[in-house]
Structure formats: structure tokens, C-alpha cells
């Protein structure tokens, strides 16, 4: 058993080391994905383009505009009238328009409230919420400054724990690391068996004393090492490129990565024994891992606000538990004592997946 397993392990390592394409996929793809996704998924608002229509042209209106532009917005050229404002949105050049009415300065002094119109592009709900939020904040600040002494009854002092700058990359990047690991692990092994089916070598080694256990473990082993190397690579990239702090224990994170990676390697093998071609293997792997881990893992969309059936479905998505782990260890610096349920789930899940993939390995053709 040991001799046979060792023989398969050594053969698989040789395949990987002699195939530059596999190595490229393993090393370059995750980095490329991290760069692409981290920049695309970032939720921070920097220089959102808005236009301001100033119908008052007073010192007060100009002060308000200054206040707006000093924060998150980038001012585009402002139209002089309110006619055809919606045209500005159609091209997608701006995300919001603020209209300062005539007599703005005068009314600030004489009236209890001055209406300032904010138009936002509702087709992008995320940006719309952010824009209104920021304009509100600016308006509030501006009003308070104009009327000293009359502060609001409740003064909120918010302090963001673990991530004082509110850097969404700190939130996104660990999640992406988990997502990329999922993809790479599943893809690697999903091709491993089907490749031997396509080349006919599986037919040859089936007529031998090799058992499904030996074939599966022999396939998982080398890719296990590769996937862990990938995990380290992604973390290193996140630390150097995005200044991700690793506040907790790196060894703990790596140890907890083991069952997570193993679960997806086993899933990949399960896919590999069920399909006939490498193309099918890639498609099923992408479909089977991308969607659940993107949507049901708390990566971007909070599970707590999902309908009940989706919440239940998310309970069996390993990415959800690994996200708790990686965010916990990396950002909050928590230890194993706070991650026991997640760890237990991942261990159980990977064991079950491994058993299923061994049991469903077909020892015959056709």
C-alpha cells in the first residue's frame, strides 16, 4: 500500500514538474486573479464623478461646493441650467447631480430648512446609496458649521474596530484569497483523472493492484502541496501589494487552510471521475465552486440579509467558514478558540468529500 501510494505520488509530481502549463496555472493564475478581483471588487468610494448645478452663485453656495469636492467626489463640468439634466446620466459620465437652488444663501439665514436637490443614478444601487450617504454627511456638517451652538442632540462617535480606516480591501482581500484557493484546488484535481481517461493511461493502470484509495490519495497529495504553496503565495501578495496586516497567527491560518483545501481537491476528483473530457471538467469546476463561494460565503453579500433558503444553503458552503477563519485570523487576530465550529465543519466536510470521491471512483470503463 505504502509502496504503491508512493509510486503514484512520485509519478504525479513528475507530471506536474514537467508540464510548464500546470505550473503556470498554479503560480500565475492566482496572482492575476487576486490583482484583477481586488481592484474590481473594491467597495471604497474615491473620486466618484458628480456634477453640481449652482443657481445661486453666492459665497455660501461656493462654500458648500468646496465642502463637497474636498471629500469623496470629483467635480465634473457643471451645467448652468436644470434643463435636460437626465442626459448627463445616460452616458454614464456621472453618478450624481447636486442642484443648489436660487437664494440658497439668503434662505440659509431666514428659513429653517433649505431644499437642496440630489439626483442619483438608481440603476447602480450601490453607488446610489453611497452618493446619497456622502452628500447627506456633507450637508449635515455644513449646516452645523453655519449654526454654532445648536448641535444635534445625539453625537455619534463611531470607531471602526480592527480596520480603523474602513479600508474595504481588508475586508475583500482575505475573502478573495479563499475564493481563489477554492478555484485553484478544484481545477487542479478536476483535470487530474480525466486527463488519464483521455490519454488512455487510466485503462492501463486500472488493470493493476492499485486501489481507488491509492489512486485518489496519490492524486490529491501533490496538488495538496501545490494548493498550500498557492495559499502562501496569495497571502504574501496580499501583504506586499495591499498592506494586509496578518494580526493573528500565520501558522494557525495555514493549518486551518489544510481541511479547506482538501475539501476542494476531493471535490475536483469527484468531478474528474464523473466527466469524460477536460473541457467538461473545467466547466463543472467553475460552475460548482464559483457561484456558491462568491454568493453564499459572506464575501460581498451579507448572508444575514438573504432569504431563509439561501441562508440554509450557505451552511454547507465551506467558503463561508473559511472566510470566518481567514478574516478572523488576518484582520481581527483571533485564535483557534474562537474558530472551533468553523474548524470542525471544515474537517468533517473534507473527510466526507474524500470518502465520497473514493467511493464513487469507477474501477471499470464505460
Amino acid at each position: 500500500m505504502i509502496q504503491r501510494l508512493w509510486a503514484v505520488l512520485r509519478k504525479e509530481f513528475a507530471h506536474i514538474l514537467r508540464d510548464p502549463r500546470t505550473l503556470l496555472v498554479v503560480l500565475a493564475m492566482p496572482l492575476a486573479q487576486l490583482l484583477l478581483m481586488a481592484n474590481a471588487v473594491s467597495l471604497d468610494v474615491h473620486s466618484t464623478p458628480i456634477a453640481v448645478v449652482d443657481l445661486d452663485h453666492s459665497p455660501a453656495s461656493r462654500a458648500f461646493i468646496r465642502e463637497l469636492s474636498s471629500s469623496f467626489f470629483r467635480m465634473t463640468e457643471a451645467p448652468r441650467t436644470t434643463v435636460h439634466l437626465d442626459r448627463l446620466f445616460r452616458g454614464g459620465a456621472i453618478d450624481g447631480i447636486v442642484v443648489i437652488p436660487q437664494h440658497f444663501e439668503r434662505d440659509l439665514v431666514s428659513r429653517p430648512a433649505v431644499p437642496v436637490q440630489v439626483l442619483v443614478d438608481g440603476s447602480d444601487a450601490n453607488t446610489a446609496t453611497l452618493v446619497t450617504g456622502f452628500v447627506n454627511a456633507v450637508a449635515e456638517r455644513f449646516s452645523l458649521r453655519g449654526a454654532p451652538g445648536s448641535g444635534p442632540p445625539i453625537a455619534l462617535t463611531t470607531r471602526l474596530l480592527y480596520n480603523p480606516e474602513g479600508n474595504t480591501l481588508f475586508f475583500i482581500v482575505p475573502g478573495l484569497a479563499g475564493l481563489i484557493l477554492t478555484l485553484v484546488s478544484t481545477l487542479l484535481t478536476s483535470l487530474a483523472l480525466v486527463r488519464e481517461k483521455e490519454s488512455g493511461t487510466l485503462e492501463q493502470i486500472l488493470v493493476s493492484p492499485l486501489s481507488p484509495l491509492e489512486i485518489i490519495l496519490g492524486k490529491v497529495g501533490p496538488y495538496f502541496v501545490l494548493a498550500l504553496a498557492d495559499g502562501l503565495l496569495i497571502l504574501a501578495a496580499a501583504v506586499t501589494l495591499y498592506q494586509l496586516p496578518i494580526r493573528g497567527s500565520l501558522p494557525l491560518l495555514l493549518v486551518l487552510m489544510l481541511p479547506f483545501v482538501l475539501a476542494y481537491l476531493a471535490l475536483g476528483l469527484l468531478i474528474s471521475s464523473g466527466v469524460a473530457t477536460q473541457t467538461a471538467a473545467v466547466l463543472v469546476s467553475l460552475g460548482g465552486t464559483m457561484l456558491p463561494n462568491l454568493i453564499l460565503s459572506n464575501l460581498i453579500f451579507p448572508i444575514a440579509s438573504m432569504p431563509r433558503p439561501l441562508q440554509l444553503a450557505s451552511l454547507i458552503v465551506p467558503g463561508r467558514y473559511f472566510l470566518d477563519i481567514i478574516r478572523g485570523v488576518v484582520i481581527k487576530g483571533v485564535g483557534i478558540s474562537d474558530l472551533i465550529p468553523q474548524t470542525v465543519f471544515l474537517c468533517a466536510f473534507s473527510a466526507v468529500m474524500l470518502v465520497i470521491s473514493i467511493k464513487s471512483f469507477r474501477e471499470r470503463l464505460g
Binding site: Q3, A7, K11, G200, Q204, I205, S208, P209
Partner: protein
């Protein structure tokens, strides 16, 4: 282990495939098929592509389950004892099925290890195998870079490493140059002489001479099974041979000629099967055509048996 029994004893093997696209449309790949292979024999399964040769061999190698029928391979049950069968036999699939990115030595070592040879046993076995496969100078070459003939010799060496009790080889000489084919058959003869039974398929009728027994397979059914020379001797007709390309166009005319049972084209020759060779020769000579008497070959037997089988079905 049943050392004394036959290497292969199977009966009633059937296998059908569902044709792609059609649900009720089943293709019978193997009709009820019996086969016995004694130890120390080379048995050849001959038949054209699609005759069911690979299906039969895959069933015997435990890679496919027969729909019905069964038997023993090296004394182990074909269905329930498949693990033991797999340890006992050496099976070579039709396609080259070694790892092209591993070297000759690495491929051989891999098979030695999965069959549980110790290092010393492997070294000793390597020397024996290198003596006949002549791959000594190419040990570090990647298998994918070998010539067709060398690939087949390497594949054979890999399945011989564990000293199997029976060899099952699926078209090992297809696509191999004539010199390598002759070498390959010589190796198989040597193995047979050492008592290893060999079951081999081939689409080449001229390779039958290397076999102790042959079985003609057509559409999953046996047309004949015997020693090759006895099968040829069983041909019931005399053979008249006509040469020349213009003859081929008139194949149908000759087929309906008096005294001709069947006219079959082989390359640029036309074979006329007849019960009355002198009479036919005379009649054709009257028409200015010169025929020579030919010795029937296995191909003639095959064509005749195929015709017989078709008539029996009709």
C-alpha cells in the same frame, strides 16, 4: 491459484451498447461468446475493425462487465474476483497507454512499484527485459519520444514486469513498421515457449501464422476457431485467380459465371471460388482469359465464412 486449469475459460459472454442518440437502438458488440485458452498457447483473435475484438478483451481484462456470461481468468472469477484477475494478468490496451512525459526507466519502475516488486527484484527483472526489448540505450528517453515499435516494446515490458500468468494484448502491432512487427511476434513466441499464454488481437490476417490457434471474429460472433493451417485447409472450394485492373470492374459478371460460387476482389486480383477448377479454367480460356490456380488464404476463408453467416441469418 489454479495452475493446472486453462488460462481463460469463459462462456456465454454478451455485451451490447446503446447507440448514441437512439434509445431502443442497441448495438450488439459481442454475441454469446465462449473462449478457452490453454497455458502455453498464443491465441489470436482476428477480425476487421468493429468486430468486437476490443470489447472482448476489455471484458476479459475486467474493465467491462459482460451483460451475461462469465468464467474464470487464471482461475479467478471474471466478475467477483476482478482484483485478483488484475494482479495475475498483463493487459495492453490498443492505444499507447504509458506516460509520455516519463522516461523509459521511470515508466518501468512505476509499474514495478504498483505491482509490488522490491528494488532488487526490479533490478533483476529489468535486466531480463532489457535483454529482449533492446531499450537499454534509451532508458532516459521520454516514452513519448520513442518510435512506434519501441513504444510497443516498452508497453509490453511494463506489463511483463510482474511476470504475469497471462498476457492480453489488444492490437499490439497495429501502426508498427514491418520489422518491429516481426520482432514483436518473436518476443511473443519466446514468452509462449516459457509457458506464458498470450491472447492477442490483430486486424492483419497475415499475422495468424504466428498463432497456435486463431478465432475469426465478425460482428461479435465467432466465424471459426482452430489452428490457422487447419482453418485454411477447411476452405471448401478451389481458387482461381484473375489478374488485371479491368477484371475488377467485371467482378459481378464473373460472380454469376457458371461454376463460380463467389468472386472476391483482393487488391488488383480477383479470386473466383469454384468446385470445378479444371472446368472453369477451360471455360475462361475459351474466352481468352488466363487464370492461375491459387492457394486459398485466411482472407478467403474469412470472406467465405462471412458470406455463410450472412446467408444463415437471411
Amino acid at each position: 491459484m489454479a495452475e493446472e486449469g486453462p488460462a481463460i475459460a469463459v462462456a456465454g459472454l454478451t455485451k451490447s451498447y446503446v447507440r448514441a442518440g437512439g434509445r431502443a437502438d442497441e448495438v450488439r458488440a459481442l454475441a454469446p461468446f465462449d473462449l478457452t485458452v490453454a497455458r502455453g498457447q498464443i491465441v489470436g483473435i482476428l477480425g476487421p475493425d468493429g468486430a468486437g475484438k476490443s470489447t472482448l478483451l476489455r471484458i476479459l481484462a475486467t474493465l467491462l462487465l459482460p451483460d451475461r456470461g462469465g468464467g474464470t481468468i487464471c482461475g479467478h472469477d471474471l466478475v467477483t474476483g476482478y482484483r485478483r484477475v488484475r494482479r495475475a494478468i498483463g493487459y495492453m490496451p490498443q492505444r499507447f497507454s504509458l506516460y509520455p512525459d516519463l522516461s523509459v526507466l521511470e515508466n518501468m519502475r512505476f509499474f514495478a512499484e504498483i505491482f509490488g516488486l522490491s528494488r532488487t527484484a526490479f533490478r533483476a527483472r529489468m535486466e531480463e527485459l532489457l535483454a529482449f526489448n533492446m531499450l537499454g540505450p534509451f532508458l532516459d528517453r521520454r516514452a513519448g519520444a520513442l518510435s512506434g515499435g519501441m513504444k510497443q516494446k516498452l508497453a509490453l515490458s511494463c506489463i511483463l514486469i510482474h511476470t504475469p500468468e497471462l498476457l492480453i494484448l489488444d492490437e499490439p502491432t497495429t501502426g508498427v513498421d514491418p520489422v518491429s512487427r516481426a520482432e514483436f511476434w518473436e518476443i511473443l513466441g519466446g514468452l509462449r515457449d516459457r509457458g506464458v499464454p498470450v491472447l492477442v488481437t490483430t486486424p492483419y490476417m497475415d499475422e495468424a501464422q504466428h498463432c497456435d490457434r486463431i478465432c475469426l471474429l465478425h460482428e461479435g460472433a465467432r466465424l471459426a476457431e482452430d489452428a490457422p493451417e487447419r482453418i485454411v485447409a477447411s476452405f471448401p472450394y478451389s481458387l482461381a485467380v484473375l489478374r488485371g485492373g479491368d477484371m475488377l470492374a467485371r467482378q459481378a459478371d464473373f460472380g454469376s459465371l457458371e461454376g463460380v460460387v463467389r468472386a472476391v476482389a483482393f487488391g488488383d486480383r480477383l479470386h473466383l471460388y469454384t468446385r470445378d477448377l479444371p472446368g472453369l479454367t477451360r471455360r475462361l480460356a475459351e474466352r481468352g482469359l488466363e487464370v492461375t490456380a491459387g492457394r486459398p488464404t485466411l482472407e478467403d476463408v474469412f470472406v467465405e465464412k462471412m458470406g455463410e453467416a450472412a446467408r444463415a441469418r437471411a
